[in-house]
């Protein structure tokens, strides 16, 4: 048997004996992601449907100037409530989502056929009020358009003459795509793999030094690199197991909870595709964590270093989540950056092109191989062993 396989089998056995580490890996790596994701999705779905369905309570200043408009709003499930003493302060304090202010000149302007003035107060920086605002605006625009059409008809003019163009809005995204909701999935998947790689690397490299078992181990007739390869293989296998578990978790989660009509599905077919696609990334993480973890003297110290490393490595994912920009050409070589983008494409149901398969994998394997070689060299350094 090749020495690295002996090391690999021993490390697996050793890890599985360690309840705490395994729970750490499985709970944090495999379950937290899907649970968090489902929670966020449920919340998002609930917010959207709530805001779309429920009757909006709209304080109106000067309600007496526009009774007919307010009747029309009521039919669009916008119910008028009493005027406020200080509407601006109430909006700023988030006591109300929006306030409609009707100018005293409103009835006269309407009668004279002049644009009648209304003001809607709201806080544009609050995402929750966006849906409320849009519904009020739509209702008022509809009312305004109806009145305008009536005025034209009375003058014997076809109202459609004011409609110079009609823009049809067609959504071409594939089934199973709500970009907003899917944006954080790659992020959670990548956290899961990294978390697993970190816990395993801390135990396998720093743990061996902390227990003072490295020197007797290295006295065996085995090339030092074999130890590194065996430990790396253990790490990759556990990371992929965690990834499979969290993918299954996502798939089960999207089937268990009611996602309404958001159109999110998580095809079972995307699981093997993502596993294959993310294997080189798991190798890269394992090598990165093994290399950095080797500088720590104790498991605790290693976990501190590696925790910081996880945060640093997540930055590309976070930027991607916000920008949602397309990654192409040589950018595809960048591990994490390209993977984050392409996970989204797979989840959206897009097939990956050959370049999209090869370049990110080549980038991750190359960077991982370099780090693994550096880590392997450490195993020949006396300062590392003693």
């Amino acid at each position: 048997m090749k020495p690295w396989i002996i090391v690999f089998r021993k490390e697996l056995k050793d890890l599985f004996r360690d309840r705490r580490t395994m729970v750490n890996i499985l709970v944090l790596g495999a379950l937290l992601g899907p649970v968090l994701a489902m929670g966020l999705m449920l919340l998002a779905v609930k917010m959207i449907s709530d805001e779309a369905e429920k009757t909006i309570e709209l304080p109106v200043q000067g309600a007496e100037y526009a009774p007919v408009l307010l009747d029309y709003l009521a039919s669009s499930r916008i119910s008028v409530v009493a005027a406020l003493a200080d509407p601006q302060a109430a909006v700023r304090a988030q006591e109300v989502d929006a306030v409609l202010v009707i100018d005293p000149a409103f009835p006269r302007q309407l009668r004279d056929g002049k644009p009648a003035q209304l003001t809607l107060l709201s806080d544009h920086s609050r995402s929750k009020t966006r849906i409320v605002r849009r519904r009020i605006e739509t209702a008022i625009e509809n009312y305004s358009a109806n009145l305008g059409n009536l005025r034209l008809s009375l003058r014997g003019v076809d109202p459609s003459i004011t409609q110079v163009m009609v823009l049809h809005d067609r959504d071409l995204s594939k089934k199973g795509s709500d970009a907003q909701l899917l944006a954080f999935l790659p992020y959670l998947l990548i956290i899961g793999i990294m978390q697993a790689a970190m816990v395993v690397a801390a135990d396998l490299t720093a743990g061996e030094r902390e227990r003072q078992s490295l020197e007797p181990l290295m006295a065996n007739p085995v090339a030092p690199e074999q130890f590194m390869i065996g430990k790396l293989a253990t790490n990759v296998l556990i990371s992929l197991a965690v990834l499979s578990l969290s993918l299954l978790g996502f798939a089960a989660g999207t089937r268990m909870i009611d996602l309404g009509d958001t159109g999110i599905t998580f095809s079972l077919l995307s699981i093997p595709v993502l596993l294959l696609f993310l294997s080189p990334l798991a190798f890269f993480f394992a090598a990165l964590m093994s290399f950095v973890g080797a500088f720590a003297r104790t498991v605790k110290e290693a976990q501190t270093y590696l925790g910081l490393l996880v945060l640093a490595a997540l930055t590309p994912s976070m930027i991607q989540m916000m920008l949602q920009s397309k990654v192409q050409d040589l950018e595809l070589l960048l591990p994490i950056w390209s993977h984050n983008y392409l996970i989204n494409e797979v989840l959206r149901g897009e097939p990956l092109s050959l370049a999209q398969w090869l370049l990110p994998s080549a980038g991750a394997l190359l960077a991982g191989g370099l780090l693994a070689a550096l880590a392997g060299r450490l195993y020949r350094k006396p300062d590392f062993i003693f």
Binding site: S213, L214, E215, A219, P221, P382
Partner: protein, 244 residues
């Protein structure tokens, strides 16, 4: 058999080992005797090729320890100063891991572990996880895993450290039997009783330099003393560090 020729090793300004030569003969227990910090561990680490000598060389059954490190290591069993075990593995699994790395497996390995367990009196805890083992139990596992491949040369760095009387006696009996089988054994120590009880040949080292080589009796004669402790003090030229 191991030949040590003019080994030198320095760490910064410290000359840890400075021109050390000696021989570890087959069928013989050689003691490397010296106070703390005299260069015993550094010398041993060059023997089992974890440290590269600045100059000089080590021949293990004719193979250069550094340039032919894999076959040379295969001919040596090593119990270093650090004796960390894997706490979640049983004593047997700890020994078996090293056994596989030393090239034995399957039934042969199991039989070999059983034999070692009997020789070192470790049947009581053989199947228990090593977490919480006493010093003596840990030392026995460390010795068993080092020699599970049945190497010709045995190297032990201060094996008596922290052992109780019973474990120490078991260890001594084991080493004496190995010697009878023709093994070449080196043990480093700073404890006089270990030397008188076990060693056929003593290499006295201080400050990285060899001060004397010979049987315990020859050393006492050379120093003109009638016990080995006084002889040792006389040979290294001070009593600093001996009682530590």
């Amino acid at each position: 058999m191991i030949l040590v020729q003019k080994l030198q090793k320095h760490f910064g300004a410290v000359k840890a080992v400075d021109g050390v030569s000696f021989e570890i003969a087959d069928g013989c227990i050689t003691g490397l005797l010296g106070p703390n910090g005299s260069g015993k561990t550094t010398t041993l680490r060059m023997l089992y090729a974890l440290l590269q000598p600045d100059s000089g060389k080590v021949l293990v059954d004719g193979m250069d320890a550094w340039s032919q490190s894999l076959p040379a290591k295969a001919a040596m069993g090593v119990v270093p100063d650090a004796r960390g075990l894997y706490p979640r593995l049983t004593a047997r699994e700890n020994i078996a891991y090293f056994g596989e790395l030393q090239g034995i497996s399957g039934k042969a390995l199991a039989r070999r572990i059983d034999a070692l367990a009997q020789e070192l009196e470790m049947q009581d805890f053989l199947e228990r996880p090593c977490k919480g083992f006493s010093q003596g139990q840990r030392a026995k596992v460390a010795i068993a895993r080092a020699f599970v491949g049945n190497p010709q040369n045995l190297l032990l760095d201060e094996p008596g450290n922290g052992l109780d009387v019973m474990s120490n006696r078991a260890l001594r009996r084991y080493l004496l039997r190995q010697k009878e089988q023709g093994k070449a054994i080196l043990l480093s120590t700073h404890i006089m009783q270990e030397v008188t009880a076990l060693c056929d040949e003593v290499v006295v080292i201080a400050a990285g330099v060899i001060k004397a080589v010979g049987t315990p009796e020859a050393l006492m004669r050379q120093a003109g003393k009638d016990n080995i402790e006084d002889a040792f003090v006389a040979l290294i030229g001070s009593d600093e560090g001996i009682m530590a």
